[in-house]
C-alpha cells in the first residue's frame, strides 16, 4: 500500500517539482515493480516540434537564438525531406506560386531572431499601397503608406507588407537554425504515432507525449509543439477539437508576368484586390515584372480556369480585374476564346487604368495550382505538454493575407512564454506555463478569423441593399483618413487589436 501511495504522490508532484527530484522520490518502489516491462526507452527532449514549415522553423530559430532558451534540447520532425529547402537556389526569372505577405511586424520578429538576413532580399517585394474594390458596385478604397496620417510608416520606407515566396522564408529559417545548431533535425520521417509514455527506470513519462517515427525512433517531449498544419496529428493526439467550416471555395494561385514593373513615379509597388461574388481576386507584386495571383473562387470555376490555354487564362485574369460580374460569369462558360471576348468587352467597360493592375502578359508554366479554403480554429492552443502554433491552431481565408503572419505572432508569443518559464525555473510543458501563450493569442486570432470570415460573407452577396451598404461603408473608409490608418495598422500588424 505504501509504495503505491508514494508513486501516486510523486506523479501528482510531477508538474510542480523538478524532474530529477520526482525521480528520486520514486526510485525505491519502482525498482522492483517495473523490472520486467522494459521496451525501448524514448529519447527525452525539452521541445519536440512537429512540422518544419515557417511556424515550426521560426519557433526553433527563436528558441535557439535566445540565450535563456538556447540550453533546451530540441528536435524537429518534418515528414518531407528538407534537402530541397536547404539547397534552395532559385533562378531569377521564375518564382514559386506559393507566396505570402509578411507584415512589418513579422519581418521585425524575423530580424530579431536573426533569420531575415538569410532571406534573399532580391526575391522579396515590399508594397506601399493597396487598392481594394468591390467588383459589383465599383466602390473602392486606396491605402497608401505615404498617406497623411501614417507618418510613422515613412520611417519604414512606406511599406505595408512584403511579398515573399514561402520557400524563400523556410530556406532562410532553416539556414538560421543550422547556423545556431543544437537542433536535432529529423526530416523525411513521418509521425507514426503519438502516445503517452510510461513509467520507467529513468522517470515517469506517463504524462509525456512520446512521438514514434517511421524510422523507429521514439521521442519523449517535455513540450510537444504542433506546427504540423491544418490536419495536425499533434492536435489529434491532444484531443483538441478544431471547429469551423469550409468556404466551398478554392484559392487558385499562379505566378504572373506583367507588362511592366508596376512602379509608378519611382514609388513602391501596389497590391490589388477585387471582391467578386465568387471570392476576391488579388494581384500582389513580386520583384521585377512578376506578380503572384491569388484568386478565390468556386472549385468548378477553378477547374475551368486550370483547363484553359495559357493565353485564355491570361485573358481571364485580365478580365477579372476589369470586366463586370456578368461578363465574367459568361466568360467562365466558354470553352475557349476568352481573350478575344474579353478584349471586345474592355472597349465598352469603363475602368481607370491607373487603379487596376497592369496587364498580365503571361503565366509561368506549371504555376497554376489551387487549394481548398477553410476556416478552422482549435478550441484551445495548449494542452498538458502540448502547444499548437500556426495552421495547426487556425486556418483562415487568404483575403487579408494574414495567415502566415498570425502564425509568426503565435511563435513570437510561444517563444516568449517558454523563455519566461525557463527563466523562472518552471516546467515548460505544463499547462500553467503555457497559459500566457493562450491568453495572448487566442482572442487576437479569433478576432482576425471572424473579421476575415465576415468580409468574405459580406462580399459574397451579389445584389440587393447589402451591396449599396457595403459600398457606402467602403467609401466612408476611403474618405476618413483616421479609419483608414487604423485598418492600415491592423494589416501591418502594428495595431493594438490584432
Amino acid at each position: 500500500m505504501k509504495p503505491f501511495f508514494s508513486t501516486l504522490r510523486a506523479r501528482q508532484l510531477n508538474g510542480y517539482v523538478c524532474q530529477t527530484c520526482t525521480r528520486q522520490l520514486r526510485r525505491k518502489p519502482q525498482r522492483r515493480s517495473y523490472a520486467s516491462t522494459s521496451s525501448r526507452t524514448p529519447e527525452i527532449f525539452d521541445v519536440v516540434c512537429v512540422g518544419g514549415g515557417p511556424a515550426g522553423l521560426s519557433l526553433l530559430a527563436a528558441l535557439r537564438a535566445n540565450p535563456i532558451t538556447s540550453t533546451l534540447k530540441i528536435a524537429l520532425i518534418e515528414s518531407q525531406s528538407l534537402t530541397p529547402t536547404r539547397t534552395f537556389s532559385p533562378s531569377p526569372d521564375s518564382f514559386s506560386n506559393r507566396c505570402s505577405s509578411l507584415t512589418p511586424s513579422s519581418v521585425r520578429f524575423l530580424s530579431d531572431i536573426g533569420a531575415w538576413k538569410f532571406v534573399r532580399g532580391e526575391r522579396v517585394q515590399g508594397y506601399g499601397q493597396m487598392r481594394v474594390w468591390d467588383g459589383v458596385s465599383g466602390a473602392a478604397v486606396h491605402f497608401d503608406a505615404f498617406g497623411g496620417a501614417e507618418k510613422e510608416k515613412r520611417d519604414e520606407g512606406g511599406v505595408v507588407a512584403y511579398m515573399n515566396e514561402n520557400v524563400n522564408l523556410t530556406a532562410a529559417l532553416l539556414r538560421r537554425v543550422e547556423e545556431l545548431g543544437g537542433v536535432e533535425i529529423l526530416d523525411g520521417e513521418r509521425v507514426e504515432d503519438i502516445t503517452l509514455g510510461r513509467e520507467a527506470e529513468e522517470g515517469d513519462l506517463s504524462q509525456w507525449p512520446v512521438v514514434k517515427l517511421s524510422g523507429g525512433r521514439e521521442l519523449a517531449a517535455r513540450l510537444l509543439v504542433g506546427a504540423d498544419g491544418a490536419n495536425s496529428p499533434v492536435r489529434g493526439f491532444a484531443g483538441i477539437e478544431s471547429t469551423g467550416w469550409d468556404y466551398g471555395r478554392v484559392g487558385l494561385v499562379a505566378t504572373l508576368c506583367m507588362e511592366g514593373e508596376g512602379e509608378a513615379e519611382g514609388r513602391v509597388k501596389t497590391a490589388y484586390q477585387r471582391f467578386l461574388p465568387t471570392g476576391p481576386v488579388a494581384c500582389l507584386p513580386l520583384p521585377g515584372k512578376f506578380s503572384t495571383l491569388v484568386w478565390s473562387t468556386t472549385p468548378e470555376l477553378a477547374a475551368k480556369l486550370k483547363s484553359l490555354s495559357p493565353r485564355d487564362f491570361v485573358g481571364m485574369v485580365n478580365a477579372a480585374f476589369r470586366l463586370g460580374v456578368v461578363d465574367l460569369k459568361y466568360l467562365h462558360t466558354l470553352e475557349g476564346g476568352q481573350e478575344e471576348e474579353a478584349a471586345w468587352r474592355e472597349d465598352h467597360v469603363g475602368f481607370d487604368g491607373s487603379k487596376i493592375p497592369q496587364r498580365v502578359v503571361g503565366v509561368q508554366d506549371g504555376s497554376i495550382a489551387s487549394f481548398p479554403l477553410k476556416l478552422r480554429h482549435a478550441d484551445t492552443y495548449i494542452g498538458e505538454r502540448v502547444a499548437l502554433v500556426g495552421d495547426a491552431a487556425h486556418t483562415t481565408h487568404p483575403l487579408a493575407g494574414q495567415g502566415l503572419n498570425a502564425g509568426q505572432g503565435d511563435v513570437e508569443s510561444l517563444a516568449r512564454t517558454i523563455e519566461y518559464a525557463v527563466a523562472h525555473g518552471m516546467d515548460i510543458g505544463v499547462r500553467m506555463s503555457l497559459e500566457q501563450y493562450m491568453a495572448e493569442r487566442y482572442v487576437k486570432n479569433h478576432v482576425l478569423l471572424g473579421v476575415v470570415d465576415k468580409l468574405h460573407k459580406l462580399y459574397s452577396v451579389e445584389s440587393g441593399p447589402l451591396v449599396g451598404l457595403r459600398s457606402l461603408g467602403l467609401g466612408a473608409v476611403d474618405a476618413l483618413e483616421p479609419v483608414k490608418a487604423f485598418f492600415m495598422r491592423q494589416a501591418a500588424g502594428t495595431g493594438k487589436i490584432l
Binding site: 456578368v326 459568361y330 471586345w344 465598352h348 474618405a479 483616421p482
Partner: protein, 291 residues
C-alpha cells in the same frame, strides 16, 4: 489670389476628412448648363440630374395628355432608364450568348437594313412576313424610331435603341395593334419582361381608355401581359434579323409566349354586337311607335 485662398489658415485648420466629405458632395454635381461635357456618342445630350428629372416629369405629363406623342414617350423612356434599369437590361443581354452577339454586332433595324419587298415575299407563317403584314395592316414604317439622346453610357444607349427598334417585332409577334389599347397591353408585357420604367409608366394611359376598353384590359390583356412577360425569355435577346425566315409559332413557343386574343377582332365583334343591339332597340321602339 487663388494661391492665397488655398493657403488661408481657415482651410488648413479644417480637418482633412471634412474637406474630403465636401469634395464627394461637390463631385456628384458634375456639371452645369454652361459647361456641358462633350457627348459620349453621336447625338448624345448629357443632362444634369435636375434636367433629367424635369425631362422625366414633363414628358410623362405631356405624353399622358397626348399618347400619340411617340417622341415624348421615347424621351420618358430615356430619362427614367437610369439608374439601374437600362444596366439591368444590358446585363440580361450580356448573360446570353445571342444578346452578346447583338451587342457585338450592333445591328440596326430600318427600311434600309430590312427590305420590305423581301419580307412581303416570305411564306405566310414566317416571322418576317408577320412583321411585314403587321406593318402594312397598321400603316407604319420601321423608320419612325427616334435616336437615343439622353442615356450617358454609349452601350446602354444602344440597348435602348435596340429595344425601341424591336418594339414593332413585339407587336408582330403578339399581333397587338398600335391603337392606345393595344399599346398599353404591349407595354404591360414589356414592363414585365424588360422592367424598363417607361413601359410601366405607360400603363397610366389606361386611365384614358373608355370603360369597356378598360374592363377588357384588366380582365384579358393585363393578366396575359404579366404572366407572359414574366414567363417568357428576355425578348431583347432575340436576334430578329436571323429569325425572319422562321415559323412565327415556333418562335413564340421557343420564347414561351402565347398569342393573346386578337384585339382588332374583339373590337370588331364588340362593335357589331353594339350595333346589332342598337338596331334591335331601334326596331323595338319603332314597332312600339307603330302600335
Amino acid at each position: 489670389m487663388a494661391l492665397f485662398l488655398r493657403q488661408s489658415p481657415l482651410r488648413t485648420r479644417l480637418p482633412a476628412e471634412l474637406l474630403t466629405a465636401c469634395t464627394i458632395c461637390l463631385n456628384s454635381r458634375s456639371f452645369g448648363v454652361l459647361n456641358r461635357p462633350p457627348p459620349n456618342y453621336e447625338g448624345h445630350v448629357p443632362l444634369t440630374r435636375v434636367e433629367r428629372a424635369g425631362l422625366a416629369v414633363g414628358s410623362a405629363v405631356m405624353s399622358w395628355l397626348n399618347p400619340r406623342r411617340g417622341d415624348l414617350i421615347a424621351a420618358l423612356g430615356e430619362a427614367t432608364a437610369t439608374p439601374y434599369f437600362i444596366y439591368r437590361l444590358r446585363d440580361a443581354m450580356l448573360a446570353s450568348p445571342t444578346g452578346r452577339r447583338i451587342l457585338h454586332d450592333r445591328p440596326r433595324i430600318s427600311s434600309k437594313t430590312l427590305s420590305m419587298d423581301y419580307l412581303r415575299g416570305l411564306p405566310a407563317n414566317t416571322v418576317g412576313r408577320a412583321y411585314a403584314d403587321w406593318l402594312d395592316r397598321e400603316g407604319v414604317s420601321p423608320d419612325t424610331r427616334n435616336s437615343v439622346k439622353y442615356i450617358d453610357d454609349e452601350e446602354c444607349a444602344y440597348v435602348m435603341q435596340r429595344y425601341r427598334e424591336c418594339h414593332d417585332f413585339y407587336h408582330a409577334l403578339t399581333g397587338l395593334p398600335v391603337m392606345v389599347e393595344g399599346e398599353v397591353a404591349l407595354k404591360a408585357f414589356e414592363f414585365a419582361n424588360t422592367l424598363l420604367p417607361m413601359t410601366g409608366l405607360s400603363m397610366f394611359a389606361v386611365t384614358r381608355l373608355k370603360p369597356a376598353e378598360r374592363q377588357r384590359f384588366f380582365t384579358i390583356y393585363l393578366p396575359w401581359a404579366i404572366s407572359n412577360g414574366l414567363r417568357s425569355k428576355d425578348v431583347i435577346n432575340v436576334y430578329w434579323e436571323e429569325q425572319l425566315e422562321r415559323d412565327v409559332e415556333e418562335l413564340r413557343n421557343e420564347l414561351c409566349i402565347e398569342k393573346p386574343v386578337d384585339l382588332r377582332d374583339i373590337r370588331k365583334k364588340d362593335r357589331a354586337r353594339r350595333k346589332a343591339e342598337k338596331e334591335a332597340k331601334e326596331r323595338s321602339s319603332d314597332s312600339l311607335g307603330i302600335n
